[in-house]
Each structure stands twice: as C-alpha cells, then as structure tokens.
C-alpha cells in the first residue's frame, strides 16, 4: 500500500527517463568525441566545444538566434498585451473574435511558411505585386537585410495570440472592486491599466515572457521552411544549424555539442522561471 503512488508514477518516470534523460546523457557523452557519420568515434575531450566557441560562424548563429528571439518576443508581447487590453472591453462578439484570433496557433509552422511564401513570392506573390505599384522592388526571403525581419514577422503572426489569449484570461479574472474604486477616484482608463490591471497579472506576464523566449530561441520550422538559414547565414538559428551540421555535413558530435550548449540555456531559463514563479 505504501508503494502504490510510486507504482502509479513508474510508467511516467520510465518514459520520461528514456525520452529526456537518455538523450541528454548520450549527447553530453558524445560531445566529447569526434564522430562523423560512418567513421570511428575518437575521444577528443573538449575539442568540439573549443572548435565551436572559437568559430566566428557559430557566434553569428548565436547572435541571429537571440536577435530573432528578442524582436519576436518583443512584438508578440507588446501586440498581444495591447490586443488583450482592448478586447477585454468588448462584451458583444468577444467569443467570435477570440476564436478567430486563435486560428494561427493551430497552424503548423510549416504551413505558416506556406501561407507567407505564397503571399511574398518575388514573382507571383500578392504583396510584391502591390509594392511594385509604388516602385518598391521587394525580396522578402532572399535579401540579407529583409530575410530576418520577414521571419520575425512570420513568428509574430503565428504566436501573438499565445500572449493575447493568456493575458485576456488574466484580465478577465481580475476582481471588479479595485477597478470600480479607482474609477470613483477619477482614474483614467490608461492609469487603471497601468497601475491596477497589469500589476495584478504580473505572474502571467512572466509566464508569457519565459515561455515565449524559450520557444523563439528554439525556432526551427519557419526558418527551415522558408530561407533554410540563408541567404548566407543571415537567418541561420541554433536548431537549424544543428540540423544542417548533422544531416548535411554528417558531423554528429558537433551537432550534439551545439544542442548541449543550447540546452544549458533552455534549462537555465526554465529553472529561472520556476524560481521566480514561486516568489510572485
């Protein structure tokens, strides 16, 4: 009887060990080897880490990933919170608005790339066609300067409703009394939002910030599906790079080293979240 709960947890523990602990240990172990697909595995100690961390290309990719994550998060959170504050006021029709705004979240990353490739294609796309009227020759995915902002735009279209829907639920759960009291004291709508509504949902704002930053750092689908990391290295992110290193260059251990380093960042952010969450 005493062991019943552990017996119930056992299947979960076994499956999670196999799917999460095993890959971490395997990756760490082989990150100390020089292993090309098909070749012998040679122990090289920290060799992979040193090669990567002294590689200019790798730092560009790290920079890309963080630039992408920063701007995507920034716009998603600003637009999502803004939308939630406005749509919170609506009583009639709010369900239908919410349902429609949820659609992008249900679309797979690869389908998002299809949506926008069709619209932004240099030859056939509708947007370059309209831009040509005002003499703008656009090249959304192919130019060094435009590719990254375009990818960020795709992610903003795709994931802003994540922020919106959570913040809206938070705003709806705020009790009426403090807001009514502030209104009686003559506070403006903006002041009520700034000093009452937003502080009351700060734990949700933190949740949104951490979840979105981890998710944007992990970007894969929308880069792989559109630019494939190009032009040059302009949009290469950590996960697309790890994929390319393994599947195009067959450097298995190097790819795993990238993922080990990246996982440390993700684990750090996750632990940070659970620590901060308790304090709030």
């Amino acid at each position: 009887m005493k062991h019943t709960p552990y017996f119930f947890l056992l299947p979960s523990i076994l499956i999670l060990s196999f799917t999460s602990l095993y890959p971490i240990c395997y990756s760490i172990y082989y990150s100390f080897f020089n292993w090309r697909w098909g070749d012998e595995k040679d122990f090289i100690g920290l060799g992979n880490y040193l090669t990567l961390l002294t590689d200019k290309e790798f730092w560009i990719i790290i920079k890309n990933t963080f630039v992408f994550a920063f701007f995507a998060c920034f716009f998603e959170i600003v637009i999502g919170v803004f939308l939630a504050i406005y749509i919170d006021r609506i009583k009639i029709g709010s369900t239908i608005i919410r349902t429609i705004l949820l659609i992008p979240l249900m679309v797979s990353g690869i389908s998002v790339t299809m949506l926008f490739k069709v619209m932004l294609d240099n030859m056939f796309g509708i947007i370059p066609y309209f831009l040509s009227f005002v003499n703008i020759k656009s090249n959304f995915f192919g130019s060094y300067t435009a590719a990254m902002p375009t990818i960020i735009g795709l992610d903003v279209w795709w994931q802003t409703s994540f922020v919106f829907i959570i913040i809206l639920a938070g705003l709806k759960s705020i009790p009426h009394e403090p807001i009514e009291a502030a209104k009686m004291d003559g506070a403006s709508e903006w002041e009520i939002t700034r000093y009452i509504r937003l502080p009351m949902i700060r734990s949700l704002l933190l949740l949104v910030l951490i979840f979105r930053s981890i998710d944007t750092l992990k970007v894969f689908d929308i880069v792989w599906g559109t630019t494939g990391g190009g032009p040059g290295l302009a949009t290469e992110a950590l996960q697309t790079y790890a994929y390319r290193v393994a599947y195009s260059f067959l450097e298995m251990s190097k790819s795993m080293t990238v993922m080990v380093l990246f996982s440390i960042v993700v684990i750090f952010l996750t632990v940070l979240y659970s620590r901060l969450n308790k304090d709030l």
């Binding site: 709960p5 999670l16 659609i103 996960q239 994929y243 996750t270 632990v271």
Partner: protein, 276 residues
Amino acid sequence: MKKIKKHKHLISAYIVSFVAVAFTLLPVTWLFMLSIKSKGETFTKPPKWIFDPTINNYIKLWDNDLFKDTFFNSIFITLISIVLSVTIALFAAYALKRYQIKFKTAFMQWLLLAYMLPEFLFVLPMFAIYQTLGIYDTYLGMAIIYQVHVLPFSIWMLRSFLEEIPKEIDDAAIIDGCGPLQAIYRIYLPLIIPGIVATAILNGIWVWNELAIALGLTFFDAQPITVGVASFRGYASIDWGGMTGSAIISIIPMVLFAAFAQKHIVKGLTLGSVKG
C-alpha cells in the same frame, strides 16, 4: 459626457479587434483561394477575384500516394501518442493528487524541463537507439519520443482537472472500500472525461503540427503530414497547387478540433496554472 467616453473606448476596441481579425484571416483566406483556383488563374496579374472554383488541386493531392500516406501516418501517430500519454498521465496525476510523494517538487520540475527541451536534442540520440531497437521510422517510435512533450503536458492538465474534484468525493470512495484502481476507473474517470478530451485534443494538435523531430526520425514509412506539406516547398519549380492544397488540408482539422477545446485552451497554454 461619461457615456460618450465609455463609447469611445468601446469603438476603439472594436476597431482594434477588426484590424487583428483581418490580419489573422487574410493569409489563410488568400491561401484557400489560391488552392481552389485553376492552374492558369493562380497568379494572374492583377489577381482574379471572381473565378470558377475548382477542387482539382485537392483531387490531385488525393491521388498523390506520397502525400495521402503522410496524412494517414499523422492520424496514426497522433492517436497512438494521445492514448499512450493520457493513460500514463492519468495514473501519475492521480498519484500526485491523492498521495504525499517525496520528491514531488523535483518531479514537477523535471516535467517542466522535459517539456521545454529543444526538439533537436532528441533527434540524434533517438536516431541511434531506434536503429538498434528497430523502431526507426515507425509510428511507435514517433509516438514514444513525442511523449517527452505530451506526457508532462497531460500530467499537468489532468492533475489540474483532478484538483477541481471536491475532497468529499475522495473520502466517500475510500469509505466505500474502493481500491485506488477502482477509484480511478469508477469515480474519477467519468468526472474528468471533458478534461481528458481537452487534453487529448491539445496534445493531438501539437503532435500533428510537429516538424523538427519528424524530419530527423522518419524516412519514409512514418513520415507525418508536416513533412508531406514540406515536400512541396521547392526552389526551382514550385507546385503551387500542391503547396496551397496540402497546407489547407493540414490546417483545417486542427482548427475544427481547437473549436471543441476552446474552453480549455488557456488552461492548456499555461500548463494548468490558469483556468480558462
């Protein structure tokens, strides 16, 4: 005066939501329109707004065995993943609710970490062991690795649904002499059926839309629909009909399912920490 002010706020709210709705729907509508245009009319300039809709692109996709297979592969992988995760998670969630467990916090943190880890971390280690076990490129292999994401999610969701059941029901079950298995099967399961459905749907949407792991761990037999859709992306000559049609086919079932789970989506997105 006060009334006008109130209306001003409401009007601006409707304007904002109209713009947001338009931005959301335009790309999807445009893609759908292209998918029902005939080949010659797809990219006429200026674009044709009035045209004879045709389902040729969809018929062609249905006849395309490679794409059709990915569609059914995804259905099987999704179903196996859901059944596996919900069954296992139900026991774990019950244990977390009902018993004092040592290392409970550590276990919950582990769930969060597993849920958050980057997809490509799993690909190469799993590739190696799946080759040895002979489950590379199979439905089972895919369903197992997807548990790293959907199992923590299901445990969270089911736990938060179980927490809502009043304590009296717990106690009544024990007084009646129910063993734990009986209690789960007879008492809790019927009470949280809506929660189980919502969890299953949200899991299903994630599995259906997953690409990175699928690219690494399937080759042919178990390729899911995301890889099928991706196969239409090309640089030299693009099959626009296949591209638009396949994307629509992959989108529509998920949007319909999401409508069913509407009520629980917020709970799902926040891992059970906020009620919808």
